[in-house]
Symmetry: C2
Subunit: 202 residues, 2 copies
């Protein structure tokens, strides 16, 4: 055999073994139900991964509800785009990052109003996916009671998916979730002096 064909044969053997392992795992995963996904950590991608799942769910014909617990800025591309989609309900409930408002009492009231809207989505079996964007921030600052939030999440319709985003997900939420991703910051353009760019950061 030539070097190339030996390399190809070794590669193909390795991949055949890998396929057997993957196939076995797929056969073992036989439960079908809605998933509770948490995207946390200090890196970029927590909210955008949630918005990617909005597109994914829309492609399957689902209805989607989004509640933004923090209103960062009013000109985001995701809001402009998804508000044009008839299957999407988009609710911006927060007043801004908490260091922008500097008014704890107002932040608590905003978070409670946002949770009331979230709860309506979480009790509606017609909604296939609910995105609770930056909910973790409201929990981190104690604006909402984590036990109540987790209980409401677990009481949702059995087929409904939920995505919760934001830094510092509380341990009670991580324990209740099916899938948890920690988005780690390896590096960020902002630190290199690049400003927040349309289409990338908002």
């Amino acid at each position: 055999m030539t070097d190339n064909s030996e390399r190809d044969a070794r590669h193909n053997d390795r991949m055949a073994r890998k396929k057997a392992v993957v196939d076995e795992k797929i056969a073992a995963a036989d439960t079908a139900r809605g998933v509770l996904l948490v995207n946390t950590g200090n890196g970029k991608g927590k909210s955008s991964a949630g918005f990617g799942l909005v597109a994914r769910a829309l492609g399957h014909g689902m209805k989607v509800g989004v509640v933004q617990f923090i209103k960062g800025r009013s000109d985001t591309g995701e809001e402009a785009f998804f508000r044009r989609q008839p299957q999407v309900q988009w609710h911006v409930m927060g007043d801004g990052f908490t260091w922008e408002t500097q008014d704890r009492a107002r932040d608590v009231a905003s978070a409670e109003a946002a949770w009331a809207v979230a709860k309506q989505l979480l009790t509606d079996p017609a909604i296939g996916l609910v995105v609770l964007d930056e909910l973790n921030i409201a929990l981190k600052y104690g604006y909402l009671d984590v036990a109540t939030v987790v209980a409401d999440l677990l009481a949702r319709p059995v087929d409904q998916h939920v995505v919760v985003t934001g830094r510092a997900a509380p341990p009670e939420l991580v324990a209740a979730a099916d899938t948890v991703t920690e988005m780690g910051l390896t590096k960020h353009a902002f630190a290199a002096g690049i400003q927040a760019m349309a289409g990338m950061e908002f």
Copy 2:
């Protein structure tokens, strides 16, 4: 003062200091140009964060090109949804995960054809965002030359954003990137026996 108002005052002081730090950092980031973003790691969210940025870019009126280097399955929600958007070019170039095809020579040819399509997007200044989904897998298995790929990425139009996804991003690509997120797997529904659900995993 009551306990509540003391707590609120301390909170507001802390947030005022935080705002000063954040405002200073924002003022220092004054470069405007396209960003090269890499989403890697073993956790969920690498591709979906890329697809969220597609929605974000569309909301800003940009044109978007997507190249999928691995064809996982043909019924994904993101492909169905974004193919309906006139501003999006969607190219599925790969033949499948490499342990599915078990044919290294065919995988190399697929990756080279995919890179030719990617290069067209990377030389077109009318495209605001390019998503190179699972490119890291093609690099990891040596199907493409990493030095060529990095050189082509760095030679793109100055305002163009690029997102590269997939496990095991090579160090040369990480070095060239502006923003890198390591999606860490804290837990995954699949390990708990939940099958890949529409709207969540595809």
